[in-house]
């Protein structure tokens, strides 16, 4: 994955580290794949409740967050290209923008979750326990899946911050760009998972 053999200058193999990163991304997709299976089974069992429960979610915030993540995916890709072309300063600026967008996503998420919890909708709450089984499962899945995704956002932010420092001190440079590329790949993955979560929870009919 991202900690490829950077220290061993004698066998630096960008192809290997990219292959490793792709395999790792594959396991992440399978991790969420398990949740998608659970989601589909329960939605099949409780179609009406799932539809009614999704009306409680704030599509506007979800939409804004989708835009934020898509733009951040673009900026990280641009940062990689800038680095490949040797423009270190631009690359750093674009990375910083990506990190700010990620933070904005989390702030949005905080307010969204906060509103739900304020309305007494959270796993195990008395109010939620009084609703139907489909509602309980919908909100259980909602909190679990978006929570796990938010955790991935945080991991991605840590990763990109480390890369930011490494770009700054020059250990990631025009000739050794694979760590930055792999960080970008991870960020695209985080984005991609959200692209699935958004319609599944906010837009279903």
């Amino acid at each position: 994955m991202e900690q490829s053999n950077v220290a061993h200058t004698d066998h630096f193999d960008p192809t290997a580290s990219k292959l490793g990163m792709w395999l790792f991304i594959f396991t992440e997709i399978l991790l969420f794949g398990g949740l998608f299976i659970v989601y589909s089974v329960y939605r099949y069992k409780h179609p009406v409740e799932f539809h009614l429960a999704h009306l409680e979610l704030d599509v506007t915030i979800g939409f804004i967050n989708t835009i934020i993540l898509l733009v951040s995916s673009m900026t990280v890709a641009m940062s990689i290209t800038a680095m490949q072309l040797g423009n270190k300063k631009l690359s750093l600026i674009l990375l910083a923008i990506t990190l700010l967008l990620a933070l904005a996503f989390l702030v949005n998420k905080y307010f969204e979750w906060g509103a739900k919890i304020h309305h007494d909708i959270y796993p195990g709450s008395e109010f939620l326990m009084s609703l139907s089984k489909g509602d309980m499962l919908f909100f259980g899945l909602y909190f679990f899946m978006t929570g796990l995704h938010a955790l991935h956002i945080i991991v991605g932010m840590v990763l990109l911050s480390v890369i930011f420092v490494k770009v700054k001190n020059g250990s990631v440079n025009q000739n050794r760009v694979s760590l930055l590329e792999n960080g970008g790949l991870y960020w695209h993955l985080v984005d991609l998972i959200w692209i699935f979560l958004f319609p599944l929870f906010y837009l279903i009919h």
Binding site: L19, G20, F24, T27, G34, K45, M136
Partner: protein, 477 residues
């Protein structure tokens, strides 16, 4: 011993043996040592990631051990953590499943590392079909580790979340589906059996080839059967749930796929036999271990077919028959192969030789003890003794007594074998770069191998088991 203690004991036994010994035993430990050296590389592709996965393994193991000794007592759910009981019991389930999750992460990173290593680090001239067969089996294993482990990871996280936040994924009272848990659990845990047995088969293949002093029979068939087992093994999880409430069609398909796995397994056994045919066999301890493996693995495999067919499974499911079958495969198969590999590569790893006579006697005793211990369980299961009960009816007493005697023989044998290996550690280093006349790359460097394995990276110009490669080594020495 009360029922609660008994439940905790078999749970902890399953957890430690499966997650801490037999899954990492052959694949991770021998894989880490042998993959780079057998493909002629200095190290694995990502050495630091490798170290990280080792730390994760220790962390996961520690968490599980802490989970056993703290809180409201060790988990008593069986190693399967079946919902909804695993959601309701008061014992320390959350910590234990979290430990297993960390171990899974370690296993994924190891598999990933092996895959990249095999793809990128092979010595010049070593195409995929010039790799030793142990590497082929580890290649299949690594794919299973990568593709199956995430599913159990997320399932364990869901169990933990169910308990901590009362979400109810698998709790019928809240709309959850316990059967869904079983599906998710076995999607990993059946392929996990192949994480145990595939490297075992690979090690046995190496041993049989070396001690037959013949080139291997059916190289491509053995190599591809490893991948076939990995692939089909991914799709047979439903056979753990024949009586749990699946549709008739699903049960038929899963039963059919289960029978399919027997084909690549049998391909291996027949090719081993054909390799030995007209060979010049030297009867060294690793070879005896391999023979013991084939014997018990055959019994384990054939009784697997009994459990894989729907009608007989209904009679035998959740009886001691299952326990016997499982131990014939996992202890008799993977466990014996682990010791076979240890006896085979021991001189390579330490540059010292153990006492062969003691090793042979220990194995003989182990073989007797093993069969005395587990074979009566087949009969007990057929007679109807259920598993996971802390007591049994009087008519089962004799067979259980025989089984207990077997367990003591087995334990004695294990002590003899392990002490023999430990004592050899203190012996004087010998010049045994190639004690068995092996032909794969690990025998062409020193024992123990130097840092970065080879003085010069070898260049491969022939098939892995060609006798010509043996002659070349003899010629230069």
């Amino acid at each position: 011993m009360g029922p609660a203690t008994y439940n905790a004991l078999f749970t902890v036994h399953g957890l430690t043996m499966i997650f801490l010994f037999i899954i990492p035993g052959l694949a991770a430990s021998f894989g880490n040592f042998m993959i780079p050296i057998m493909i002629g590389a200095k190290d694995v592709a990502f050495p630091r990631l490798n170290l990280f996965s080792w730390y994760l393994f220790i962390l996961g193991a520690t968490i599980i051990l802490v989970g056993i000794f703290t809180g409201d007592g060790p988990p008593d759910t069986g190693w399967t953590f079946y919902a909804p009981y695993s959601l309701k019991t008061n014992t320390n389930v959350v910590l234990t499943v979290f430990g297993a999750f960390v171990l899974g992460f370690s296993s994924i990173l190891t598999g990933l590392n092996f895959l990249v290593t095999i793809h990128r680090m092979r010595a010049p001239g070593m195409g995929f079909f010039r790799m030793p067969l142990f590497i082929w089996s580890l290649y299949g294993t690594a794919w299973i580790q990568l593709l199956a482990t995430p599913v159990i990871g997320i399932t364990f996280l869901m169990i933990a979340a169910d308990r901590l936040f009362n979400i109810g994924f698998f709790d019928p009272a809240q709309g959850g589906d316990p059967l869904l848990y079983q599906h998710l659990f076995w999607i990993y845990s059946h392929p996990a059996v192949y994480i145990m047995i595939l490297p075992a088969m690979g090690a046995i293949t190496e041993i049989i080839i070396t001690f037959s002093h013949r080139t291997v029979f059916g190289y491509k068939a053995i190599a591809l059967s490893s991948l076939a087992i990995a692939f089909v093994g991914y799709l047979v999880w439903g056979h753990h749930m024949f009586t749990a409430g699946m549709s008739e069609i699903a049960r038929l398909i899963f039963s059919f796929l289960t029978f399919l796995v027997a084909i690549p397994s049998a391909i291996k056994v027949f090719n081993w036999t054909a390799t030995m045919y007209k060979g010049s066999i030297s009867l060294e301890p690793p070879f005896w271990w391999a023979m013991a493996f084939i014997f018990v693995f055959m019994i384990g495999g054939l009784t697997g077919l009994v459990l894989g067919s729907l009608s007989t499974d209904v009679h035998l499911t959740d009886t001691m028959f299952v326990v016997a079958h499982f131990h014939y495969i996992v202890f008799g198969g993977a466990g014996l192969a682990f010791f076979a590999a240890l006896h085979y590569w021991y001189p390579k790893m330490f540059g010292k030789m153990y006492n062969k006579k003691v090793a042979n006697r220990g194995l003989l005793l182990l073989f007797i003890g093993f069969n005395v211990l587990y074979f009566p369980m087949f009969i007990l299961g057929y007679m109807g003794q259920p598993r996971r009960y802390y007591d049994y009816l009087p008519q089962f007493a004799t067979a259980n007594l025989i089984s207990t005697i077997g367990s003591w023989i087995l334990a004695t044998a294990l002590i003899i074998i392990i002490v023999n290996l430990l004592r050899a550690r203190k012996g004087t280093p010998e010049e045994i770069d190639d004690p068995w006349g092996g032909r794969t790359l690990e025998w062409k460097t020193q024992s123990p191998p130097p840092l970065e394995n080879f003085e010069d990276i070898p260049i491969i110009s022939h098939e892995p088991y060609d006798l010509i490669s043996k002659q070349r080594v003899d010629g230069t020495k």
